[in-house]
Symmetry: C2
DNA sequence: CTGTATCCAAACCGATACTG
DNA sequence: CAGTATCGGTTTGGATACAG
């Protein structure tokens, strides 16, 4: 993995190299996992699925701020990435069970670590994730 | 914090409540931290800053895929959120030192957990984070 | 109940060019 | 070196309405 920008490579004077951080050793392990959790809500989905399998509507209640559209999108993406499984229970009315796969469960400790930080920061005021104001009209 | 969607609230028959997951107990601790790491590159910035303070150009080399514009944006956002500090060293040419704050260091373990998962998944092929194809023209 | 389709806004990102 | 300005493109997300 070439360690240099494509276009605007900055010329660092040889000898001023302070510390070669990205040495392919612990290069970008974040990238892989981040790819699995793309989108602001994917982590929440996995998180709420970590307790036990849940259904669409339950997840919707777990994450009030999410819209059905986005929840559906993330769910299908996570399914495609083998992070969760989708099981349709042919009842009336039909219901679906979403559950973490082995891969998905791998992510839980990481999310737990994040949640732990959140708890620790805790009480401090927390700016809402990313509220969008609807246009004034 | 009302546990119900604003508009499209789904009516779950009372008695079918499987498990009350989001009970304000371990509600959404992710949200707070996610807000700190908004954007696909913010985690990387914090991650590469976890070793030691680094300069703008160094971070740019650490994260080849990032553009100067976005790096600058994230840097200023993280500074505003008190995750990092910016110190301008009045030399010629001028240089700047970015360093994690106490808050920023809180995030490192969480990122380490993510990185650990990434390492564990490791060798498996990893779809690039979110490569954008430039337009064909 | 479980989604999907449209419409629209905002966040995010890269390339390039330019300033102090 | 350290940024910012501008431009255009992609991605994510909310609201609403509607379908199986």
């Amino acid at each position: 993995m070439a360690l240099r920008v494509r276009k605007n490579r900055v010329a660092i004077p040889a000898g001023v190299v302070r510390v070669k951080s990205a040495d392919a050793a612990h290069a970008c392990p974040l990238t892989r996992v981040m790819g699995l959790l793309s989108g602001a809500w994917a982590p929440h989905v996995v998180w709420y699925l970590s307790d036990q399998p849940r259904r669409f509507g339950e997840l919707r209640l777990d994450i009030p701020a999410i819209s059905a559209r986005v929840l559906s999108q993330r769910l299908r993406e996570l399914e495609a990435k083998k992070v969760i499984t989708r099981a349709v229970v042919p009842t009336t009315p039909p219901s679906t069970e979403y559950e973490l796969t082995a891969l998905g469960r791998e992510l839980v400790p990481a999310l737990a670590a994040i949640a732990a930080v959140g708890e620790k920061l805790g009480t401090e005021e927390a700016p809402p994730p990313r509220r969008r104001r609807r246009r004034a009209s």
